[in-house]
Amino acid sequence: MASSHGTPPVFNNKVIAWIDHRLPIFSYIEKEYHTFPTPRNFNYFWNFGAIATVMLVLMIATGVVLATNYTPHVLMAFDSVERIDRDVPQGWLIRDMHMNGASFFFIAVYVHIFRGMYYGSYKAPRELLWILGVVIFLLMMATAFMGYVLPWGQMSFWGATVITSLFSAIPVVGDSITTWLWGGFSIGNPTLNRFYALHYLLPFVIVAVVALHVVALHVHGSNNPTGIDPKGPQDTVPFHPYYTMKDGFGVVVFLIVYSAVVFFAPDYLGDAANYIPADPLVTPTHIVPEWYFLPFYAILRAVPDKLGGVIAMFGAIAVLFILPWLDTSRVRSSTYRPIYKWFMLILVADVVVLGLCGANPPAGFWIPLSQVATLYYFFHFLILLPILGKIERPLPMPPSIADAVLKKKAG
């Protein structure tokens, strides 16, 4: 596909030509990021893959610098983080970038996931691309969870206790598994140590899976807002300079919002209780995870049974793996799916409601509300999607991307 555009690159610089003949990195960059034929009709939703990549790099860069001043020991971790905030030159900045970077990484990834779902990017032949994306999402959740434990505040400790205790719901071996995860009889120094080691390791695993994600993406190229495959050169533009510029613009706008939070409201997205040192004998009255876990936390609490709640929570992510086969419609883009389009937006509202349920104490009307929202979440994936694809009548589709774009311009 890529080679249909232009000829193999010729490098005038002798050094580059010499290297490329032995290790074709320059040919690769030329082919995959310069001449790479990309649908001409991307909207701004297509920025968020690049934005997420920038956030990943930013998290690793700030994380490595933080690691040089952090001490993974139960007696020193909290103080070492406070020292980074107060005494280390620009430590406050690096820490606030890292802390809020996690939130903004999740914002970018959630928009990216929404884009994939709304425009049907997970459909054939991009199923593995989608599954690799879900793997990245899971790795991100594990990494973010372990990172949140490191400052060793009250929420770090009790969040870790609640989440690791999920595994004790497994019949027979549950308790042995939690003891194994903790390296002791409760969350303690061995736990903090191993979480630190894994928190440093997993981002590089994410980088590797992102690389696979990009390789899979470049086999069939990007989806686009019409969901129609490009049929020739009239439907595509070279990736550079068109989308390097558009992605660059999107990244800058995103980073402006991110910087505003980092500089003016660095603790807005966090929990004040995490500035109290961890106390194994006192549970905070209201334990909440970070905002990006709230919908899943709400699903966990919606089920009035320990094992059932844990299964529902993991199931909420597991359904994403089989999404390409649950959706029976052959039309990719919601633009041409008049009914699915609305259900997709209802799903977004449902997830927001779940998030609100997760943020509030499990009492009063929040309990039935979270149960209804949980049921709807699974209804959408397991019942609605398979049926809707069979009964929905798609709108007429334009013959090509170029037709769609030019008609829109004319009309």
Partner: protein
């Protein structure tokens, strides 16, 4: 036998080479599993963590109706000096009302099989997701059954520490303990 040539080997006819391949592969798999084990077991509690396994507590200063919290294996342990009323309530509950049926007596028996209904000794960790229930300190919410109440997900325990309502599946856990004298108890 030594001069036997390689069997003609029709389809599905295993040769000596096939056998060696399978045997080598199987041995390799066993070896890989054997090497994996130290890596997995390495994450289990270390000897020094296991060594912190028991503590001794003097319960003499605890007045009737009072409770204290001590730390054992990194977890809170509740020691409650129960009132006659507490004990009466706990004993009166029919087994059919309990999600995790246990008699009150079986929860106040030490490892020497001696029953001391006035002393309730439990691990103060909610069996749902590991929070510390309220109710051990004066003024805290003891929940609808007069025992303990977990604020995290709303589990309520009675005066015997048995689960009565909420998502927790089991009663608060009774650790192994032994009254070495009438006022000295060894936990663990």
């Amino acid at each position: 036998m030594a001069t036997a040539s390689v069997p003609a080997g029709g389809h599905g006819d295993p040769t000596r080479r096939d056998f060696l391949m399978v045997a080598t592969g199987a041995l390799g798999a066993v070896g890989a599993a054997a090497v994996a084990w130290p890596f997995i077991n390495n994450l289990n509690p270390a000897a020094d963590t296991l060594a912190l396994a028991s503590i001794e507590v003097n319960v003499q200063p605890i007045e009737v109706g009072q409770a204290i919290t001590v730390k054992w294996r990194g977890k809170p342990v509740f020691i409650r000096h129960r009132t006659a009323q507490d004990i009466k309530e706990a004993v009166a509950v029919p087994m059919s009302e309990l999600p995790d049926p246990q008699t009150d007596n079986s929860r106040v028996t030490d490892t020497a099989k001696k029953v001391r209904p006035e002393w309730l000794i439990m691990i103060g960790v909610c069996t749902h997701l590991g929070c510390v229930p309220l109710g051990n300190k004066p003024g805290q919410d003891k929940g609808p059954y007069g025992g303990w109440y977990c604020p995290c997900h709303g589990s309520a325990y009675d005066t015997s520490g048995r689960i009565r309502k909420g998502p927790a599946p089991l009663n608060l856990v009774i650790p192994e303990y032994l009254f070495t004298t009438d006022t000295l108890v060894r936990i663990g």
